[in-house]
Amino acid sequence: MARLISRGFLGRRRPPEVEKRLPPGQYLVTDFPVLSAGPTPHTPLDRWSFRIDGLVKSPVSWSWPEFQKLPTETVTVDISCVTKWTKLDTKWRGVTVDTLLKGVEVDPAGQYVMAFSDGGYTTNVPLNELINGQGFVAYEFDDKPLPPEHGGPARLVVPHLYFWKSAKWIRGLRFMDRNDPGFWESLGYHIHGDPWKEERYSGD
């Protein structure tokens, strides 16, 4: 199909150093939009826990105070939402999946992970895209506790995938032997979700 030029459209250009950090079809925001399919859950910290289960030798679970004692890292990353916005240099503090998996014996067949959250949200990520510093469970944003509408008390952050993979209100990781689709992945969104390949919807 001949490429359409939108008559009279020039677009808003960004400096090249910004432009090259924007994945295809994305635009820059400086605020922090909120997207979720339903209401924001508010889980009291004394009832919060984080669990690793599924195809593991023995499931593990941390209470909030226990989770706070785990070693953390602070990272500054760019994030891209499938609804088209990209935010540069977001600063998070949290516990890497590598740290969480120390002492967990994963069944060799457990190559896929389903992140699960308060409110029933789920999203699938292959294990090899969560380890080696690629994924972490964050509870601070910009040096402050993560607000509920942005996924607090804690959310998964997997910055190299569209942000729906960064499950808000996360409560655990479940190991699976198949790449089962999570919530949005069952509703027409891409099973993988790489913004640089523009994997927005299934079939992309």
Partner: protein, 245 residues
């Protein structure tokens, strides 16, 4: 699943809805249908190949075949909405793909009672639901609670009046947050717990609710609905921005 292909549509009609909102009817020969509440992705391309995309809800019901209605609010310093408002003319082509979104959808097979809560342009996907309900001659009880700043800001005003007066089981309740029409006896404040309570009372906690609009409105309404005992999976939300922080 087959990929969602980009397709070219032709703008057939542009209709002002309010001083800052316009509807665009786009003829799409290859449109495969949608469910009320879904949206499309619009892609604009500049002569040098620069592209940007935005999402717009589909205002028309599935029953209107061969074309889609999109209703766009003008964001003064925006990249895309001023282009649509000030540059696009009848006969222009627009590139889009869809339908997108499988959760913020309602059709008569979902059932009711149906409570729709919208703020500003958040009424757009809710209108698709109401138009579909009317086209299906459905009698599922339905209420729309629509928050507007002033009488000038009521999108689809005439059609809402006409629907409310003519189809069975539908009530349209508008609340004006800045300025109400002279002699207005309805709500005149932001949506709060007392207002939601009144509106939802005939339906109780079995209502299926769809909340769409600016993030702050959606956050507060969704939290209130859950606080009133609605199961979270009956509260569907769509947040358009702006985002506040």
């Amino acid at each position: 699943m087959a990929a969602l292909e980009w397709q070219l549509g032709t703008v057939t009609t542009i209709q002002p809805e309010t001083p800052k909102t316009k509807s665009f009817y786009v003829a799409l020969p290859k449109w495969a249908g949608h469910r009320p509440g879904q949206h499309i992705d619009l892609r604009l391309t500049a002569p040098d190949g620069y592209q940007t995309q935005r999402s717009y809800s589909i205002a028309s019901p599935p029953e209107l075949s061969g074309q889609l209605e999109l209703t766009v609010d003008l964001i003064q310093d925006g990249e895309v909405s001023p282009y649509l408002h000030d540059v696009v003319m009848q006969g222009d082509q627009l590139e889009l793909r869809g339908p997108v979104g499988g959760y913020f959808v309602w059709d008569v097979t979902v059932g009711g009672p149906l409570l729709l809560v919208g703020g500003g342009s958040g009424v757009v996907p809710l209108m698709a639901m109401l138009r579909h309900r009317a086209a299906q001659h459905s009698t599922i009880p339905a209420r729309l609670l629509y928050s507007c700043r002033t009488p000038d800001d009521v999108i689809y005003r005439d059609e809402l009046n006409q629907l409310a007066g003519s189809v069975a089981g539908l009530e349209v309740l508008i609340t004006f947050t800045r300025q109400a029409p002279a002699g207005w006896t309805g709500y005149q404040r932001r949506i709060d717990a007392a207002m939601l309570n009144e509106v939802i009372t005939p339906f109780g906690t079995s209502a299926r609710t769809y909340v769409c609009g600016p993030t702050l409105l959606v956050e507060s309404v969704a939290n209130l609905l859950v606080g009133m005992g609605l199961p979270a999976d009956r509260v569907h939300t769509e947040r358009f921005g702006p985002t506040g922080s």
